[in-house]
């Protein structure tokens, strides 16, 4: 009797193992099908990831071909090797179209109430003309937010990106107080967001789903970088305001133009916002000279009270 019960237990265990293995293979098959999809455009990154093939053997696939690989766990805290992501924003081209925000929201499955890109009408002094100033997270190289986090829920990665692990965040909001650029937003209530599809794991790289009581912000889209794709704000801007790229490749692109990063920032006298704070932002601005649009064009889609607020803060009297 004793023997019997033992053996059934063992059988049960075996069964469980087998079931687990099948599940693994099934999942692997899914990933592989995404991989084997021929894509002439995707480039090899040289970095290999191990995947389980449908017949149960481990295969190595180049990460550039992998379409379902936002890193999770420890890997997500380290960053994509040999990369250093930067952004250059051309203020001469911005007309407050806010398409970048729409793109960001649709890519991150955010409801309209959660805004990770903000738009300012800055005016440096009363004698100068105001200009539109879109602001993502600056991904500082000396990030004040990361310094103060009590649990390491927000962290700086080797690829220059500052991410939030909202499974770890305790919601103390200290990072929001520390960020001088007000780049962080808090999920005060339920984010009312499309849920993660079944079987997908949360990754700080996708920032999806947002969780009530935790902090969120622009994440520089490392999951897209892993796929060799540009973030949605870059591709959805109608005027090519955003240039994004890898500083280690000395190249940035806005989707249509690809230029040397060093030449762009040097020739166009790029600056980083409030450099004097010592935060060393990873986002550069090109000064609004030879503008494509008058700043008033930016008012066309706004409500009258919003225009009034902008005018008031920018000291515009007319």
């Amino acid at each position: 009797m004793k023997k019997n019960s033992n053996s059934t237990r063992r059988n049960f265990l075996k069964l469980g193992l087998a079931a687990g293995a099948t599940a693994l293979i099934g999942g692997g098959g899914k990933v592989l099908s995404a991989v084997s999809n021929p894509d002439a455009v995707s480039k090899e990154t040289g970095e290999k990831v191990k995947l389980l093939s449908p017949d149960g053997s481990l295969v190595e696939v180049d990460k550039g071909h992998c379409h379902a690989c936002p890193a999770t766990g420890k890997e997500a805290r380290q960053g994509i090797p040999n990369k250093k992501m930067v952004m250059v924003i051309d203020l001469a081209r911005c007309r407050n179209a806010r398409k970048c925000l729409e793109g960001c929201q649709s890519m991150h499955h955010l409801p309209p109430k959660i805004e990770w890109i903000k738009f300012f009408l800055l005016r440096d002094s009363k004698d100068t003309s105001p200009y539109w100033f879109p602001k993502p997270c600056f991904q500082c190289n000396n990030p004040p937010c990361v310094k103060v986090c009590p649990v390491g829920a927000t962290f700086k990665r080797t690829d220059g990106i500052v991410l939030i692990d909202n499974d770890r965040c305790i919601g103390c909001k200290f990072c929001m107080a520390a960020c001088p650029y007000s780049s962080r937003v808090f999920n005060w209530g339920s984010p009312d967001q499309e849920p993660l599809p079944a079987g997908k794991k949360y990754s700080p790289e996708t920032s999806w789903p947002q969780k009530v009581g935790t902090v969120g912000k622009c994440d520089f889209c490392p999951d897209m970088v892993r796929q060799g794709k540009l973030p949605s704000c870059v591709t959805s801007c109608p005027n090519g305001v955003y240039f994004y790229g890898d500083k280690n490749e000395d190249t940035v692109t806005n989707g249509t133009e690809t230029v040397r990063f060093s030449e762009l920032v040097q020739q166009r006298s790029a600056y980083r916002y409030m450099e004097e704070l010592g935060t060393e932002p990873g986002v550069y601005y090109l000064p609004p000279v030879n503008r494509l649009f008058d700043y008033k064009v930016g008012f066309q889609d706004l409500k009258p009270e919003e225009i009034d607020l902008y005018k008031k803060e920018a000291n515009l009297s007319e």
């Binding site: 999809n37 021929p38 894509d39 002439a40 480039k43 040289g46 499955h109 409801p111 903000k118 738009f119 300012f120 009408l121 602001k135 000396n142 310094k147 103060v148 986090c149 009590p150 649990v151 700086k156 770890r168 965040c169 305790i170 919601g171 103390c172 909001k173 200290f174 929001m176 107080a177 520390a178 001088p180 650029y181 007000s182 808090f186 005060w188 209530g189 339920s190 984010p191 967001q193 499309e194 849920p195 993660l196 969780k211 009530v212 009581g213 060799g228 794709k229 790229g245 890898d246 280690n248 490749e249 190249t251 692109t253 989707g255 690809t258 230029v259 040397r260 935060t279 607020l309 803060e313």
Partner: protein, 746 residues
């Protein structure tokens, strides 16, 4: 154990308040419990709905919870600093007020931190601080400091209670049995033997000394939470001493109020005299003046420097439409009125002193509000792109309810404690209980510092379940309409000899070009007489269908040496059919690299294949050179091919990988004859990417700088060594008492 007559007389005075709660007492307890119950409902609302029920929003991220937190930690100074200092200075009149002061400390240190928990978005993850805690964060400093402080003030209060506990144990008349058991347990067999007395006095002195720097540190750390940020009004070097001073000021005020209340309800006029009020009032006045000095110094510096953001905060404080009256109350009334009332002998009496204390305490709460809110309302970037409800702050009913709850718990705990032990120490010792202060030196020599071993606990992660509301996204498809036009564009790419046909299928919707996904595109080649089907492929999310041609085609080229390819989309109910074609010549390309003196060159060799299959050098077409990068191709130059050759300088300034490997692509683009044709090659002439230097210790890194770790360990060890010593000595007192009792019986 023997007690003197004075002790018995004292005890007679306190007996009534210990033995019954009284009608008013029950009324008071009921009222407090009702407020607390309401607070629990508010807490439930916040925990279930999230902080959306508070008045805090993205700009004003901290509100009155945090003001309350600073306020309660501030008033805890009453016991720690005032009683500590008075005790060490052997001030004679201190005895009747010591216990009140120490109780204020313990109760406030219990209530205060709970407001930090209320201010947290994910209360259930508070254990993350233990598991993932980063020493670099001032919040973690606070966790260490406040928990140590709470334990220290418990020990301090307890030590001062031991004699009274022993007395209560020895005189159990009229008090419930369970209470007698507690007295007996807590009195640690204190028999007032000479050795016990010496140990106890020694301990009280020791903890008085330890608690003073500890209290200063606690409030400094609290100030640093604000001071370490880059915000106007917070990022100030005097913030820590400013907070410490404000804390003693409010602590003294609360002590005066508490003295007054107990004097009234328990009729303690013979214990707490007018002198007590006068002495503490003068202390309050001095502290008020110092506090005013700090305030003036802080705002004068900001105003004189007139940095943009500092000025914006100042404008808010001095603007009558925003905070002027609050500011006026906290910085002018709250400083000047107590000074005037107490400084003038004519005005000075118990009531004015208590009134001054009340003004000071209220002003200091307002001050904490004014520290937090106006600064948060002044971000460095303007408040443009803000929904109106996000810009300002007004506390919601939940926040007010929980504030009331905190005050109610504070009052209730205080009241219950005063029913448990006499609120004024009753035991008066026959012999002088003042030990020589300098005996401590001898003590220090006897002590041997033992190494403290820190145990780190690892706790398993507990996965918290989270509810995410379903977000409706399915849009219903419209009714059947006429099929829309589709557009197919055939592109040809010769990639290092592999020929790929790409059909890009799009349609126009609302004047926007949208890709069609999942559609089948057929690819054909023109044979001698008819079209030959090459194969089929379906479109991806970008609307592209790719088909790779076989290496050899059994089809003859036309006169120009071209193949005619075409692609067709059959159409569906929604989209019309479409097709596209292209005539393309095959090419062969090769990249080599050469170095002449200092110039490094990319050499392209390119030929086209004519009708007969012979190679003919290309002449005149433009070839573009690229370097492939993560997202796109970086153009490095273009050249016209001359008799099959084109050269370009190698982009030696571009970074490659760690070995300098840089791939180069040469490409004919949208060429009339060749379509797209490209070839690539890699050469290690690029700039070498320096290896990544990972800094492991730093403020923003995983591990804290070593000096921080050492400082923390040293500070904590010092304090905890003394606490441990105190606890061990209490056990020793207990042992000595047992021994003494046995000897007596024998």
């Amino acid at each position: 154990m023997e007690y003197n007559n004075k002790t018995y007389k004292n005890y007679e005075d306190f007996k009534p308040q210990l033995e019954s709660i009284g009608r008013y007492g029950y009324f008071f307890i009921t009222a407090m419990v009702m407020i607390i119950a309401w607070g629990i409902y508010a807490l439930y609302t916040q925990l279930s709905k999230g902080q959306v029920v508070t008045g805090m929003r993205d700009y004003v991220i901290w509100g009155i919870y945090d003001a309350n937190f600073i306020f309660f930690i501030g008033i805890s100074y009453a016991g720690a600093l005032i009683s500590g200092i008075l005790h060490l200075l052997r001030v004679e009149w201190r005895h009747p007020i010591l216990r009140m002061a120490e109780t204020i400390t313990v109760v406030s240190t219990m209530i205060g931190p709970s407001y930090i928990f209320l201010s947290m978005g994910r209360l259930e993850r508070v254990w993350h601080i233990l598991v993932y805690g980063r020493i670099q964060s001032p919040i973690v400093w606070d966790v260490f400091a406040i928990s140590t402080y709470l334990i220290g003030s418990f020990i301090f209060l307890y030590l001062a209670c031991v004699r009274d506990l022993a007395f209560m144990r020895d005189h159990p008349v009229g008090v419930a049995r369970w209470r007698n058991r507690i007295y007996k347990f807590l009195s640690a067999n204190y028999q007032d033997t000479p050795k016990q007395r010496e140990l106890l006095n020694q301990l009280i002195d020791l903890i008085s000394i330890v608690i003073i720097p500890l209290a200063i540190l606690v409030h400094s750390v609290l100030a640093w939470i604000f001071g370490m940020t880059l915000r106007p009004g917070w990022h100030s070097t005097i913030f820590a001493p400013y907070f410490v001073l404000a804390a003693i000021y409010s602590g003294t005020g609360v002590l005066i109020i508490v003295m007054f209340v107990f004097r009234k309800i328990y009729h303690l006029e013979s214990y707490i005299t007018k002198n007590h009020f006068t002495y503490l009032g003068i202390l309050l006045m001095i502290l008020g003046a110092l506090y005013g000095y700090f305030t003036f110094s802080e705002y004068l510096t900001n105003w004189y420097g007139s940095v943009k953001w500092d000025m914006e905060v100042l404008y808010r404080l001095f603007d009558t439409s925003t905070y002027w009256w609050w500011f006026f109350f906290s910085a002018f009334i709250g400083v000047l009125l107590p000074i005037i009332l107490i400084a003038m002998p004519r005005l000075r009496n118990i009531y004015t002193i208590v009134f001054a204390a009340m003004i000071a305490v209220t002003a200091l709460w307002v001050k904490r509000y004014l520290i937090i809110i106006p600064t948060l309302e002044t971000p460095l970037l303007p408040l443009h792109d803000v929904r109106p409800e996000f810009a300002g702050y007004s506390p919601s009913w939940v926040e007010w309810s929980l504030t009331a709850m905190g005050i109610a718990i504070w009052l209730l705990l205080f009241f219950l404690f005063s029913k448990f032990l006499p609120i004024v120490p009753v035991v008066r010792v026959n012999t002088a209980d003042e030990r020589d202060y300098f005996k401590l030196r001898k003590l220090a020599k006897e002590r041997i510092l033992r190494r403290m071993i820190r145990k780190t606990r690892k706790e398993k992660n507990v996965v918290a379940g989270i509810l995410v509301l379903l977000f409706m996204s399915a849009a219903l498809a419209g009714h059947a309409q006429d099929p829309l036009r589709s557009r197919l564009k055939l592109e040809f790419l010769n990639k290092s000899g592999t020929r790929i046909l790409t059909g890009k299928l799009t349609s126009k919707k609302d004047d926007q070009t949208v890709p069609l996904e999942g559609m089948e595109v057929s690819f054909f080649i023109q044979g001698a007489n008819n079209k030959v089907l090459l194969g089929k492929a379906s479109t991806d999310e970008a609307g592209k269908a790719n088909f790779t041609l076989p290496d050899k085609l059994d089809i003859r080229r036309n006169k120009e040496g071209k193949y005619s390819y075409s692609a067709a989309y059959a159409g569906s109910k929604e989209y019309q059919s479409s097709e596209s074609s292209a005539a393309i010549m095959d090419v062969f390309m090769k990249i080599t690299f050469s170095q002449k003196d200092s110039s490094k060159l990319i050499n392209l060799f390119a030929v086209e294949i004519n009708q007969k299959g012979d190679s003919v050098p290309i002449d005149g077409s433009t070839v573009i050179f690229y370097v492939p990068r993560t997202f796109s191709l970086l153009k490095i130059g273009e050249q016209a091919v001359k008799s099959g050759h084109a050269d370009l300088d190698f982009p030696v300034t571009l970074p490659g990988d760690s070995a300098g490997n840089l791939p180069v692509i040469a490409r004919f683009e949208d060429n009339d004859n060749y379509g797209n044709a490209e070839v690539n090659a890699t050469m290690a002439w690029g700039k070498k990417l320096p290896p990544l230097v990972i800094i492991k210790r730093g403020l923003g890194d995983t591990n804290a700088p070593l000096w921080m770790v050492y400082t923390l360990i040293v500070l904590l060890s010092l304090v905890w060594f003394h606490f441990t010593y105190a606890i061990i000595t209490i056990f020793r007192i207990n042992y000595l008492g047992k021994k003494a009792l046995k000897e007596k019986q024998a």
